[in-house]
């Protein structure tokens, strides 16, 4: 990861382009403590409420400790110190050793602004109830503004009985509530533990880090279960662990439709000879066109013609491609009689992403960063099926696509989404229903013929256009794809 946390994800309001953000910043009066992570703060509705008790839960290796460490170093300052208790899950030496590899680590803050204390042996000797006097002493001697207990579950598990556990949690909560400090209890809790462990009932905030194995890759998710007094962003947000800490991709949600928003009333040329006429003069700006058809029908060719036409007209165009590597794509462009380098200078942005390596969240965040940076007006996704394979959950994919189409409409980005079908029909391909419903226009390409390949095009649907309802023959030549007279 080369530029973590520098470019905002799509959902963060940007000063240069306020069109592509998904919701208003939360306005509330609660004093908040930053998580030290801009995206996490956004998801949390501004950060953790100050003076709250929060649980950071997740399996070993899920990123809890890194999240907490980023939080403490970002909050460390000249005022009150931050106290980090390590208990029985990991010795202090180990925690500090791995901590040093992260960019947020600042040795100068250790010992004064950030105080690590290993209380594991004392707890093992005197039992979990020893935590309370240790906390009280820490409060009266250090006045910490943040207290992290890593792991709290390990302390809890030392208690001999349920009654002892409840008493210990009650005592600790009462003490932490009386004093002005924000507490983070880390633990290897599972979802079932939420109902069983008393600390969940008293927690003001619960954040979960989870990891899911998917073939050769792991997907990590950040989720807020509960955050009192906060308008947080629900759902699972993908993240990666980098040397800068957690790189979180807030889930894409539908944009607020700005006041006074009106659908664009301008036609955009597809760049395909004869197709604009079929579409009653081109597609409306800001609309999404689903371009479906089997392999070899001409989807990529039309997509490229559309993007190149945009570049020709001075509209920054983004071509997101998951199938052909960049040099293949350059060759295809050259075959269309266009110099790819010149087209790129005019505003064509060719992006190749391997869906094997990426998850849908990071693909979409990258896409929106480019849209914002380059003020993209046209966009092609080639192809939707690859995005689908990068998504693990059909509902999640559907939500994503819905939100995408809404964003494009609000931002006036005209898009073509290529979609490969198994045959000459769009039916039965699983995704056609939601996509046909979401798209403004649906265009189907077909391939027939035994001795000679015959390609055809048919417009199945448009919004607000008196389109040509006939099946029209098309031809692919050196000049690209053209609808025959």
């Amino acid at each position: 990861m080369t530029t973590p946390a520098i470019s905002p994800p799509p959902s963060l309001p940007s000063t240069t382009d306020r069109r592509v953000h998904v919701r208003e910043p939360v306005v509330d009066t609660t004093e908040r403590l930053t998580s030290g992570n801009r995206e996490a703060d956004y998801i949390l509705g501004g950060g953790f409420p100050a003076n709250s008790i929060n649980i950071i839960m997740g399996h070993p290796g899920s990123g809890k400790t890194i999240f907490a460490e980023q939080l403490i170093f970002e909050n460390a300052g000249d005022d009150r110190p931050i106290l980090y208790f390590t208990t029985l899950s990991e010795p202090l030496a180990k925690v500090v050793r791995y901590l040093q590899g992260f960019q947020f680590f600042d040795e100068g803050k250790l010992g004064t602004q950030v105080i690590f204390e290993d209380v594991g042996s004392e707890l093992a000797k005197s039992g979990p109830e020893a935590l309370i006097p240790m906390l009280r002493q820490a409060i009266t001697t250090l006045s910490p503004k943040v207290i992290v207990i890593d792991s709290f579950k390990a302390v809890h598990d030392l208690a001999p009985s349920v009654a002892d556990r409840r008493r210990m949690v009650y005592e600790m909560t009462a003490l932490l509530t009386a004093y002005g400090t924000t507490a983070f209890l880390l633990g290897e809790y599972t979802e079932e533990d939420i109902l069983l462990y008393p600390e969940f009932a008293v927690a003001d905030g619960i954040v979960e880090m989870s990891r899911r194995r998917l073939g050769n890759r792991d997907e990590r998710y950040f989720r807020v279960y509960k955050l009192r007094g906060s308008r947080y962003l629900e759902g699972a947000h993908a993240f990666r662990i980098t040397s800068a800490g957690l790189d979180i991709y807030p889930r894409l949600v539908s944009p607020r439709i700005p006041e006074g928003y009106e659908p664009a009333s301008e036609r955009v040329s597809t760049g395909v000879t004869g197709l604009d006429a079929m579409l009653d003069g081109g597609v409306w700006r800001g609309t999404t066109t689903l371009l479906a058809g089997p392999s070899g029908a001409g989807k990529t060719t039309i997509g490229l013609q559309f993007a190149l036409e945009g570049a020709r007209q001075g509209e920054p165009s983004l071509y997101m491609n998951f199938q052909e590597n960049p040099s293949q794509l350059m060759r295809t462009i050259r075959n269309l009689g266009v110099d790819p380098v010149e087209a790129q200078a005019q505003g064509l942005d060719l992006v190749y992403a391997s869906p094997v390596e990426l998850q849908i969240d990071s693909i979409i965040v990258d896409m929106f960063r480019r849209i914002q940076q380059r003020h993209v007006r046209r966009l092609v996704i080639d192809a939707l099926g690859d995005l689908a394979s990068a998504a693990t959950d059909p509902q999640r994919l559907h939500d994503y696509l819905y939100a995408l189409v809404q964003h494009f409409a609000v931002s006036g980005i005209t898009s073509i989404l290529n979609f490969e079908t198994a045959g000459n029909t769009i039916a039965g391909s699983g995704m056609q229903n939601p996509m046909s419903y979401l798209s403004d226009n649906v265009v189907l390409l077909t391939v027939d013929g035994e001795e000679q390949t015959r390609r055809a095009i048919r417009i199945l649907k448009t919004r607000g256009s008196a389109h040509d309802r006939r099946v029209r023959e098309v031809e692919i030549s050196a000049a690209g794809l053209a609808v025959l007279e």
Partner: protein, 153 residues
């Protein structure tokens, strides 16, 4: 009326300090605190002792006003949510007391009630939880003010 019979003055033992008679500490200022939360009391006692104050606690509003009338403390700190007489009423009672109207009151509460505390005549309002620095700053500010008023000709 003596304290033992009254039975409502609290001896706070969390940090090993016993009950005190009014102003028995060589002139160190006595702060009376009406507060029910044990943890809040422990922290108040600790920080105020360390800052050189003598601290007494009252369990409820009735007990607190009785104590103020018995012998004026240098300062009264009260939670709003206390039994018998609530903290704001307590504040008004002190304000309107002919002999004890000069005792400054700080309302220190879970409730965000700065305006109501001000209306009740409190010298300051602080919202819980307790943070040592702001707590002591408010107390010192109020006590300095009170002394300035008393010293004025």
């Amino acid at each position: 009326m003596n304290d033992a019979d009254h039975g409502t003055f609290v001896t706070e033992l969390a940090f090993g300090r016993g009950m005190r008679m009014p102003n028995d500490d060589g002139g160190r200022p006595v702060i009376l605190i009406a507060e029910r939360d044990r943890n809040v009391r422990e922290l108040q006692l600790f920080f105020l002792n360390r800052a050189g104050f003598v601290v007494e606690f009252a369990d409820d509003g009735q007990c607190a006003i009785d104590r103020v009338r018995l012998d004026a403390p240098a300062l009264l700190i009260t939670e709003i949510l206390i039994p018998k007489i609530d903290g704001l009423t307590l504040c008004r009672l002190v304000r309107n007391d002919a002999a004890r109207g000069h005792v400054p009151v700080i309302v220190f509460s879970l409730l965000a009630a700065a305006a109501r505390a001000n209306d009740a005549g409190a010298a300051a309002f602080l919202r819980k939880p307790l943070v040592e620095s702001t707590f002591l700053a408010a107390i010192n500010g109020v006590m300095m003010n009170a002394n300035a008023v008393m010293d004025a000709p």
